[in-house]
C-alpha cells in the first residue's frame, strides 16, 4: 500500500491483437513479470481496452496511477511522451485540457484523455497521475509490436519502475 491505505495502479490500455495498440498490455505483462520476480506486491495492474469509465474505475482511490497507451501522435514510431500531474520528468498534465494535449493522438474513441478530463470533472482522479503515450506505427491485425514500439515499451518499463521506486520511498 502507498500512503494511508491508498494503492498504486498501473494501467495498460490497448488491444494486444492490433499490433502497436498492444503496447500498454505488453507493458503490463513485462511489469507483472518484474514485480513477481522482485516479490513486490503493492502494485495493482490492469489491462483495459481504453473505455473511459473503466479507466476511472481502475484508478479509483489510488494514490498513484500510471497509464500506458499507444498513440497516433504523428510522431516517429516509438516516440515517448510522458505527462505527470506533478510536472516531474516530462510534460505537465493539465487534467482539464487533457484531450487538447493528446486527445487526437489516442487510439480509442472515448478513451484515456476523456477519462482524465471526466475524472477531473467528477473529482475521481488519483492523487497523482502519470501517462506514458507511445507513438505507434502499425495498428493492423496481429500480435507483434513494431520494433521501435517494442523498444519504447522497454524504456517505459524502466521509467515505470523508477516511478514506483520513488513512490515506495516517499510513502
Amino acid at each position: 500500500m502507498t500512503g494511508r491505505g491508498l494503492t498504486t495502479v498501473v494501467i495498460g490500455v490497448g488491444n494486444r491483437f492490433r499490433r502497436d495498440d498492444g503496447a500498454g498490455p505488453v507493458l503490463v505483462d513485462r511489469l507483472n513479470a518484474r514485480l513477481a520476480h522482485s516479490g513486490c506486491c503493492d502494485v495493482r495492474t490492469h489491462e483495459l481496452d481504453g473505455e473511459a469509465s473503466r479507466i476511472i474505475e481502475a484508478w479509483s482511490g489510488a494514490a498513484l496511477a500510471i497509464v500506458v497507451d499507444a498513440a497516433r501522435s504523428g510522431d516517429e514510431p516509438g516516440t515517448l511522451r510522458r505527462y505527470d500531474t506533478d510536472g516531474a520528468g516530462g510534460e505537465g498534465l493539465d487534467c482539464a485540457g487533457a484531450s487538447v494535449a493528446w486527445g487526437a493522438a489516442s487510439t480509442h474513441g472515448l478513451g484515456v484523455s476523456e477519462a482524465v478530463e471526466l475524472a477531473g470533472a467528477l473529482d475521481r482522479l488519483p492523487q497523482r497521475l502519470i501517462v506514458y503515450a507511445i507513438g505507434g506505427a502499425d495498428f493492423s491485425e496481429g500480435t507483434e509490436l513494431s520494433p521501435p514500439v517494442g523498444q519504447a515499451v522497454e524504456e517505459v518499463l524502466d521509467l515505470v519502475l523508477v516511478d514506483l521506486a520513488h513512490t515506495m520511498k516517499d510513502s
Partner: protein, 434 residues
Amino acid sequence: MTHRAQPSRTLEVGALARVEGEGAMYVQTTDGRVTDVQLRIYEPPRFFEAFLRGRRFTEPVDITARICGICPVAYQMSACRAIEDACGVEVDGPLRDLRRLLYFGEWIESHTLHVYMLHAPDFLGYESAIEMAKDHRETVEKGLELKRIGNELLELIGGRAVHPINVRVGGFYRVPSRRELRAFRGRMERARDLALETIQLVAGFDFPDFEQDYIFVALRHPTEYPILDGRLVSNRGLDITAGEFDDHFIEEHLAHSTALHAHLLDGNHYFVGPLARYNLNADHLPAPVAEAAVEAGLDGSCNNPFRSIIVRAVEVLYACHGALEVIDGYEEPDRPAVEVDAVAATGHGFTEAPRGILYHRYSLDGEGVITDARIVPPTSQNQATIEHDLWHFVESHLELDQDALTRSCEQAIRNYDPCISCSAHFLDLVVDHR
C-alpha cells in the same frame, strides 16, 4: 438561429465523435433537395471471417469476442448458438439462464454507456459527456455507477468484463454457486433503481419531430423479450429461423464504406436494435418494465429514432429485472457445459446484441475444423437505414443553419449507437495481379 434554405450545401463531419470506431458523414444538397448521403466507414477491414477458416470449432467463441470491446458477449453467444446448431446441441435450463444473465450484464453496460456518455450530451446541449459532467455531475455519477454494476455482472459470470473468458461451446468453464449469485442480488436491486431513474431522465428530453415508416427486424421468443434466441420477425411478415437468414438478407460492398451494406432480398433497407425489438416485442416486457415504458411516453410502438434513447433505458430496466429473475430462480447445474461433438455440417445462430441482431454461420468438417464463416453485425445492417434517415431528416430541416443541421445529423447517427469497429469487414479480398 435559422435562416432560409440555401440552394446548395455540403454537410461534412470528417471524424464522427461519440461513436465506437472511425467514421465520417457526408451530405450534399442541391436546389433544396438532398442529392447524396454517405455514412463513410473508413476503419480498416478486420478479415475475421477469413482467419476463422482452419480453426477448431471451439475457437470462434474467444476469437470473435475480440471483434468488439463493448459487446463481446454478443459475439460469444451468436458463435455458440451457430456452432451448437451445426452440432445438433441445444443448451437449456440453468446454463441457458446463465447465458441470459451474462448477456443482461452486457446490455446494461453497453446501453448505459451510450445513454449517458454518448447520446445524452446531444439532448442536453453539450459537446461531450465531460462538459455535461461539469453541470450534471450527479447524473453522470449515476450513469457510471449503473454501468459499473453491468461490468460487475460480466465479471461474475464471464470471469472479466472485457472479452469474458468463461464462455465455451456448450456452456461455461465454471458456473457460479447459488450463494455467489444471491450475494449479488443487492447490486442488481440498486441497478434496477438506477435504471428506473434513467428512464425518467431521458423521457424528459426534447425530441425532434421525425418519424419514418421503418421495416423493423428483431428476434421474437414465444414468451420472453428477446435476447438469446427466438425466430427472426419483422413488421412486414418476415418469420424465419437462423438457418433461413441467407435466403432473405444480402450484403453488398459500397465504395465509401469498409462495412458491407445489408439489405433485404427485395432491396429494402431495414432497422435492427432497441427500437426494432421494442416495436416487435413490447407485449413481452414484464409488467413493471412495461409500466415504466408507458410512463415514459411509449405506447408499444415508436417510429421516431431519436426516442431510441428511451427504449435503450427501458431495455436496461428489463435487463435488471431479467437478471433478478435468473438470480432468484437459479439452481446450480450438474455440469458447467453440455458435451458438444463436432459434426460435418453448417450451423446458424443469431442473438440480440445491444445494437441489434448479430448473425453467425459456420461450416465444419467432420474433424471440427471450420471451413467457412460468416458474421453479419448490427451496424452493417443499419447502415443503409442511417443514411436514409439522414436523407429525410436533412430534407425536412433545411431551415436549420449549418452548425445546427450538422449537429442534428450527428445526433441522428448516434440514434443507432453505431459500432463501426464491429461492422468494418469484407467478405472477400481480391488481388488483381497484372
